[in-house]
Symmetry: C2
Subunit: 301 residues, 2 copies
């Protein structure tokens, strides 16, 4: 019989992931603070539950997908939390991006009640979540990972067992170093092209087939040139993730001389009121710094 | 009849590019300061010439591929330079990465003797040069570009007309912002993983299929983990290119807050005596900063 799945946290990423799990034939129970996405998934055949506890009671595997470390702690270990509804043998999987040390401490508390935990953050944006092509980076017991692999395969394409508890979150922190660096570099190069009197669209065409090639250059420029800065992946989440990166680096004594500057630009982005824009919208900070506004496609015609 | 091609500067990039042009059936004359690569190409059927002037005298199209702006100026405009051997209707194409303003000033001097010039820097490394899969970004007169397209197609895969004279060099400067940012981010994330007690190889496996995906992560990590830091693309060339980026940005009043830090790390790399290593070897600067040595594959077995 197929495992019964619970999914808590139906945001930009959680909702399409939960839907893909359901489409793969798993019975699904869902919970979310706001009701709209719950109703959407219930219309597609999911069961609603009114607390994390209630989700855990009827599930063999409980997923969470929440904004930050304290949210996951609260939903798992707090009142009416997953831990109150679980039983020995249940599996807990966190798709959120949180601190590696929080992932480890939650896993160790769940281990006391014989619940095995995986940290399984994802990358690939809302586009990847919908298409089921996410990269999933997993930390925790290897045998638990093996038993969950078919479910991961319903959610993503590149599924990697990274190592012990917390290792998935370390991989995600590493991922965010590269992603954020690319967003800032993309902003700098687009505006430099325009300032130099060269059409940035042509520059993107010219460079995306060479050594600069990256997912960011493949996916984001057409949206930026169209004046579309809605997420995608919200700037305040990018900022939060970079906070995890720098906290982790400090804990282990690792200087990150380029990432700190990238973080400062996202810090500025939040202060300028652009926290709900896509992370590629960091070009907006550079526009202010350069006193230059990117000419949009519509204005060019 | 096929155009007669001259190629001046047979380095890591120039030699394989010249060879691909010859393989496409163009009669080729070559010149280089050191003789070894000349002899290699002559053995394959090229003609040697003992000066840029002599190359130009027997060629319809003259290419250069040289380290820096003053080298191109010298070879084109100096004594025994291309300009002394050219005739009206000849075409000059520079595959070097130099300052956009130098590219424009050379083009304007050549225009006075009815020679049309294209700036056509490339990206894709020695790997792309050999495989004929380079990205080529071109600035100059559109009709000259159109007449040269078949030759570019023998050298590369993504061939983009960017705009007027100098626009190819602006695109290449933009390219280098992204490339250098990725090299530094890759170094930071690999060492952060190791410092956190997680196998960096697994982290690379985990992240290269997601939003962090890039050419650098596709190509470089296996070499880094094997302890192989030979070029590829030399650090002192990356440093030189970032100098062009920052000079251009200053000329147009464009702040590049992340790129300046990236430049500082390549500055340090040169000072530490690592100038002849691959640009991905910038991880060596971070190793010193973190007092952490990357554990190589051989030591892990």
């Amino acid at each position: 019989m197929k495992k019964r799945i619970g999914y808590i946290g139906l945001g930009l990423m959680g909702k399409p992931i939960a839907r893909n799990i359901m489409r793969a034939g798993y019975p699904l129970t869902v919970h979310n603070r706001s009701q709209a996405p719950v109703e959407e998934l219930v219309a597609d055949g999911a069961q609603p539950a009114d607390s994390p506890l209630a989700v855990a009671e009827v599930s063999d595997v409980v997923f969470t997908n929440l904004p930050d470390s304290p949210d996951v702690e609260q939903v798992v270990l707090g009142p009416n939390g997953v831990i109150e509804g679980c039983r020995p043998g249940m599996i807990f999987i966190d798709n959120s991006t949180i601190k590696p040390e929080t992932a480890r401490s939650i896993a160790s508390k769940l281990a006391e009640v014989d619940v095995s935990a995986l940290d399984a953050p994802v990358s690939g944006g809302d586009v990847g979540a919908k298409a089921g092509t996410l990269a999933i980076m997993v930390g925790g017991p290897r045998d638990t990972f093996d038993s969950i692999l078919p479910i991961f395969q319903a959610m993503g394409k590149t599924i990697t067992y990274v190592g012990e508890s917390g290792a998935g979150q370390v991989a995600k922190a590493c991922n965010q170093i590269m992603v954020a660096a690319q967003m800032v570099a993309m902003g700098e190069l687009i505006l430099l092209a325009q300032k130099s009197g060269v059409d940035p669209r042509r520059v993107i065409d010219a460079i995306q087939g060479g050594a600069a090639q990256c997912w960011a250059l493949d996916v984001k420029p057409q949206r930026i040139f169209a004046g579309e800065r809605q997420p995608g992946f919200k700037a305040y989440m990018q900022h939060k993730d970079l906070g995890i990166v720098l906290d982790t680096a400090r804990a282990y004594g690792m200087p990150l001389p380029a990432t700190v500057v990238v973080m400062q630009l996202f810090e500025a982005m939040l202060q300028m009121g652009m926290e709900d824009l896509d992370n590629s919208g960091v070009i907006g900070v550079l526009e202010v710094m350069a006193n230059e506004r990117l000419i949009l496609e519509a204005e060019n015609q």
